[in-house]
Symmetry: C2
Subunit: 209 residues, 2 copies
């Protein structure tokens, strides 16, 4: 499953009873859509009459949002790979003691990856939310609703990625890493919640003006 | 722009300075992902040992979530078509009085469609949220995080679709329709906000148990 698949094919496979792609991949795509909409606001604003004063800012935001968009799109297959390797680990033989030990190690490695990928997704989505504020504050008013959809998509993506950390981290033997991941995530989510509602309110206000 | 395009191509075009696809199409895809994840929870739960008692309920939810998924996927191109026809209306000649009148009518027809499509998207997303509760309450515990991502995606989609109504409805001459649309939407969003947080809390609780 890669982002070269069609949207229809992705949705079909997401809906199926196969474990991948699942919520982690959906989160990465939502985040990538958020970044793409920030880019859209910048692209429309660059060269727009009356927006000359913010052009440098829009170019700076665009360079970052495009990097984040490609990073998030790449996470779709990273998430599938992490989850597939975890499932493969659970299916390893567990008869002899050495098999049991090898299986336990493989499960731990899989769980760690299945924690790291969504944690990283949440971090990047927080950055998308930061950029969405700059795009919505300074970008062309005619596409302000697109900036608003961008922040909503990035926030839903961050919360979705977090659910994947919450489901995987508790089973990690390395509880120091697990607890550090969860603590970082809780902080990220607090920031994202406040910032998303603040950007959303800014967009609503501009729509009403 | 249809859902037969690859995810990469969609993201590329979303990020571009072209007006379509924009936030409306992104909203429809998020909604479709929400419905797909509800379907996933049902598909995994059907036939699962220990979940025999909820199989009929999972089948009933699945039939509905699959209908909504296809409906939302179809809205991606409906949104593009509505917005393209609005943009085409603005570009009509406006020299003679009859041209002006024809242009004004075309703009109003375009605005109406660009209000109806996202309003309908928000309605369908509210239904996805309703189904996500049933899937998360009764579905297989191992995919509960996917049910959580489903409700988050559907809620972000509903709020995103609403932004498109808020940007288009005020310019409608038919203010009775415009105000009725906005009033319906505000009620829908209130329901979605409460219900999304309630389902999310249910999912978090099951993850911790």
């Amino acid at each position: 499953m890669t982002t070269q698949s069609s949207i229809d094919e992705f949705l079909e496979r997401l809906a199926s009873g196969n474990p991948t792609p699942g919520g982690g991949s959906a989160a990465a795509i939502m985040g990538a859509m958020g970044a793409a909409l920030v880019s859209m606001v910048c692209n429309v604003s660059i060269g727009k009459k009356g927006y000359e004063a913010v052009e440098a800012e829009m170019r700076a935001v665009l360079a970052q949002s495009e990097t984040l968009r490609l990073r998030l799109a790449a996470m779709v297959s990273e998430d599938v790979a992490a989850f597939d390797s975890l499932l493969a680990a659970y299916k390893l033989p567990k008869v002899s003691d050495s098999e049991k030990a090898r299986r336990a190690d493989a499960i731990q490695a899989g769980l760690r990856r299945a924690t790291e990928v969504p944690l990283d997704c949440a971090r990047v989505c927080a950055d998308v939310i930061r950029l969405s504020r700059r795009a919505s504050e300074h970008g062309y008013r005619g596409v302000i609703s697109d900036g608003g959809v961008g922040v909503l998509a990035a926030y839903a993506a961050a919360r979705s990625a977090a659910l994947n950390v919450f489901i995987n981290a508790p089973a990690l033997k390395d509880q120091q890493f697990a607890q550090a991941s969860i603590a970082e995530l809780e902080k990220l989510l607090e920031f994202c919640a406040v910032e998303c509602e603040s950007v959303y309110a800014l967009v609503r206000k501009k729509l009403e003006a």
